[in-house]
């Protein structure tokens, strides 16, 4: 990160305050900067430059523990966070891992710092490419974001680690002349990774695929989910596996699944050297060889026998570490392109994009997704559905995966998700 390090006064003040408290402690500090370029529906350009800086402290002393965070880079922020953490302590087990267990793994170099002008160039090029089909659709909104962050994790037992990350995300709201508007989302580790020509073509194709038509009748059928439609469901599965809301003994798992939380990269986005508590980052297999894999959790849960440590996620200094996925990657288990998968469908639905929020009932393990899709018969399109609903259970998704495509795309959701197209047997559409 080329920007000046402004964290030190806050970090040092927190360490000084906690070092003299007699408590066990952990300090996490982050200096994040992001630039967002937007072209809105009035075709006006907007620019945002945000800097988020702050410190989060966990403490444990005398059978009580607490967490607090404060924003800012000045020493007062570090002192406030440390004092508030000590004041927030309530009786509980010590959640802070022993320093001897902590360490760093090799991880990918972050992308270089990007200036706003570079984002403008990319955004303007995308506008040009999308507007090449005048009359068919218009770009109603475009948001291009590039962010980078530098984080420090210091455990009072002697561990200290530093991590640098970067990432870019893109959202385009496309308004076809007829039919519903479509939100296209993508993410990459670096701006330079975008193939703008291909991105624009894929976005136009997705937005114009299903503009007219009726919803399909309610039925169980094979469903091919394009990466954009598969990603939110992959995230729901990953989260359910981490939080143990899918039991490791109950479900049958298709051998086509190979889902891994690639925490150290280089696959997917946001590779890091350590997890949210300082355990060396590693690949955590979640679904593999027809089985549910490892359960990785935060240290406090691991000590209670709920799984292995190393599953902590910490998206911000403002929150304590929690058991959650960080960088989900669905590895392809065959080499079929999405077109080959469509051609292999004798009867089914190809879902190209979500068309609204995806509702996941984690308690019941069920999902509902409004989407845009096309009915396929004997490998050919047989009817467009601008708005349809796909629904079912997360367990059904585990056992029903028949094949994966070779067209991986990445998305920045509540965690990073990278997935190819996924073909499922017998999901309900309506």
């Amino acid at each position: 990160m080329n920007r000046p390090n402004r964290l030190m006064p806050a970090l040092e003040a927190a360490l000084s305050e906690l070092g003299s408290s007699g408590a066990r402690y952990e300090v996490f500090a982050r200096n994040g900067a992001s630039t967002l370029i937007r072209r809105d529906g009035e075709e006006a350009w907007e620019q945002r430059e945000n800097r988020e800086v702050g410190v989060g402290c966990r403490v444990s002393s005398g059978g009580a523990s607490g967490f607090a965070a404060a924003s800012g880079h000045a020493a007062v922020a570090g002192r406030e966070a440390a004092r508030a953490a000590l004041a927030a302590a309530v009786p509980s087990d010590d959640p802070i891992p022993p320093g001897a267990r902590l360490g760093c793994s090799p991880y990918p170099e972050p992308a270089p710092t990007r200036e706003p002008e570079e984002l403008f160039v990319i955004a303007r090029r995308l506008v040009e490419l999308i507007d090449r089909a005048p009359g068919q659709l218009r770009l109603a909104d475009l948001r291009l974001l590039h962010g980078e962050a530098e984080s420090y994790l210091i455990n009072g037992d002697g561990f200290s680690g530093r991590a640098r990350t970067s990432g870019s995300s893109l959202e385009m709201l496309l308004a076809p002349r007829e039919g519903p508007w479509r939100l296209i989302r993508r993410a990459e580790a670096d701006l330079g990774a975008w193939d703008l020509q291909m991105l624009a073509e894929q976005a136009r194709e997705a937005a114009l695929l299903a503009v007219k038509g009726e919803p399909p009748g309610r039925r169980l059928t094979d469903v091919l989910l394009a990466p954009a439609a598969a990603a939110p469901l992959v995230e729901a599965i990953g989260r359910a596996l981490f939080t143990h809301s899918i039991s490791s003994t109950t479900p049958r798992v298709s051998t086509s699944w190979r889902l891994v939380d690639e925490r150290a990269g280089p696959r997917g986005l946001l590779g890091l050297p350590f997890d949210g508590e300082g355990f060396p980052a590693r690949a955590i297999p979640l679904l593999n060889d027809g089985c549910i894999g490892e359960r990785a959790v935060v240290w406090g849960e691991a000590r209670a026998g709920a799984g292995k440590a190393g599953g902590a996620n910490r998206p911000s200094y403002r929150r304590p570490p929690e058991t959650a996925p960080a960088n989900l990657v669905v590895h392809r288990t065959n080499q079929m392109s999405a077109r080959d998968l469509i051609a292999a469908l004798s009867e089914g639905v190809f879902v190209v994009l979500p068309a609204g929020p995806v509702h996941v009932d984690r308690h019941e393990g069920r999902f509902r997704m409004l989407a845009a899709g096309v009915t396929i018969r004997r490998g050919r399109p047989a009817g467009a559905h601008p708005l349809l609903e796909v629904r079912g259970s997360l367990k059904g998704l585990l056992r029903g995966l028949a094949a994966t495509g070779n067209d991986e795309q990445s998305f920045s959701l509540n965690c990073a998700v990278t997935t190819p197209s996924l073909l499922f047997r017998k999901l309900e559409v309506a």
Binding site: D40, N50, E52, A70, E80, G179, P320, R368, E389
Partner: protein
């Protein structure tokens, strides 16, 4: 202890911005928030978290630059003033959060977490400076991701339990068909928010992203329903006295007796629509102000006080969310809790399902509405392009014909 005269310092800063040739600042926004979170396990306190956040944001035309921290160096860097020119600002000290012992008896059974939030904010413009008053908030989370949002302290006791499908219940689904539905106030609030909240936001109207584009002044409902955006009702979570651009808040009719009459406007777009500004809200320090709903209040004169259950086949008590497609006018409600009705009496619970209709069908399809309504605590967080902020609602039940079960 609060600054003895904080507004004087803010006005001093406004004067400096006005005099500084290089600053060219439209406005400077300052915010401090404090959150206290109590996490429960087995009805006992498991952990407590405290979050103090403060920061500043400056706008110059369509460019927003923001930074965490409220110290003099940060404000100087944002505004272009010299550090010595920035007055020593002392935002007020937050009040103490509720005591856990006092809070616990108020919480619904099955509460997983409670979050209290206090916020202070100020807007400094070359022409004025003001502080913003907003209610303290209490968010209560339960199982099944249910969340309730209240102004704190709440005007009425919190419910004893969370609504929703009883755990383990596996009722049979309904066949796909078109029916008459009774929407309880939490479900009606979502429908009306999606129909008359977001689509009346000036930026969406200007960008062609509203289903009411070009229809202002038209009658869009046969039922004489009135929908008002009321930021001045301090008992609701979306309240404020001055908006996030420093404009006074006003109670604003959006729909009057079924006719579209109002636009939610900020300073930039108010002249375009001939509306008063005062609706600009920021989701957080790092987001620019945009026209947003505050508290939605709906009522209809001259209709039945009791819900017309005998007229409906299904009563929807809770929805997970709603979507309106501006291009097609199609409306979706993701129902999370509902039961069938027979002769006005509940018969059996239903699994989650989706209701669909169109705005043209709703024009005649909203048949009746209740008169007065209590505050709705569900769906207190409203998202727009990923920017989430607190909103409130006071909506009656609605009887709606022509909704299709998907």
């Amino acid at each position: 202890m609060a600054d003895p005269d904080p507004i004087t310092r803010l006005e001093e800063l406004a004067q400096r911005l006005k005099k500084s040739a290089g600053a060219e600042v439209d406005d400077l926004y300052l915010e401090r928030t404090v959150d206290m979170v109590w996490n429960l396990a087995d009805s006992a306190l498991a952990s407590r978290e405290c979050l103090r956040r403060e920061g500043a944001a400056v706008r110059r035309g369509r460019r927003l630059v923001s930074c965490d921290g409220l110290d003099r160096l940060t404000i100087a860097a944002l505004t272009g003033l010299k550090p010595a020119e920035v007055p020593h600002l002392t935002p007020p000290t937050p009040p103490p959060p509720p005591e856990w012992q006092d809070l616990l008896p108020c919480l619904p059974r099955e509460t997983r977490a409670a979050r209290w939030r206090w916020r202070w904010a100020a807007v400094v413009r070359p022409d004025r400076a003001c502080t913003l008053n907003r209610p303290q908030l209490l968010e209560v989370s339960g199982a099944r991701d249910l969340r309730l949002l209240y102004s704190w302290p709440p005007a009425e006791p919190l419910p004893g339990t969370f609504a929703g499908l009883p755990p383990g219940a596996q009722p049979a689904p309904l066949p796909a068909r078109v029916i008459t539905i009774l929407l309880a106030p939490p479900a009606a609030a979502v429908l009306l928010h999606e129909l008359f909240g977001h689509p009346c936001e000036a930026d969406l109207l200007a960008a062609g992203r509203s289903l009411w584009q070009g229809r202002l002044g038209e009658r869009v409902l046969e039922l004489p329903l009135t929908v008002v955006d009321d930021p001045l009702d301090i008992s609701l979570p979306g309240a404020f006295d001055v908006d996030d651009e420093g404009e006074p808040a006003v109670c604003r009719p959006l729909l009057e007796d079924g006719r579209l009459v109002g636009v939610l406007a900020d300073r930039r777009l108010a002249p375009v629509f001939g509306a008063a500004p005062g609706c600009a809200r920021r989701a957080h320090i790092h987001a620019p102000p945009r026209p947003r709903m505050s508290n939605l209040v709906a009522f209809s004169n001259g209709t039945a006080v009791e819900p017309l259950r005998h007229e409906a086949q299904v009563e929807v008590t809770e929805v997970a969310g709603g979507t309106v497609d501006p291009a097609s006018g199609r409306v979706y409600l993701a129902v999370s809790s509902a039961h069938t009705l027979r002769r006005g009496h509940p018969t059996r619970g239903l699994p989650p399902f989706t209701l669909s209709t169109t705005t043209s069908a709703l024009e005649r399809g909203i048949l009746a509405a209740g008169a007065a309504a209590p505050a709705v605590a569900a769906h207190g967080w409203c998202g727009k392009d990923g920017e989430v902020l607190a909103t409130g609602a006071r909506t009656p039940w609605l009887l709606v014909d022509g909704m299709e079960i998907r």
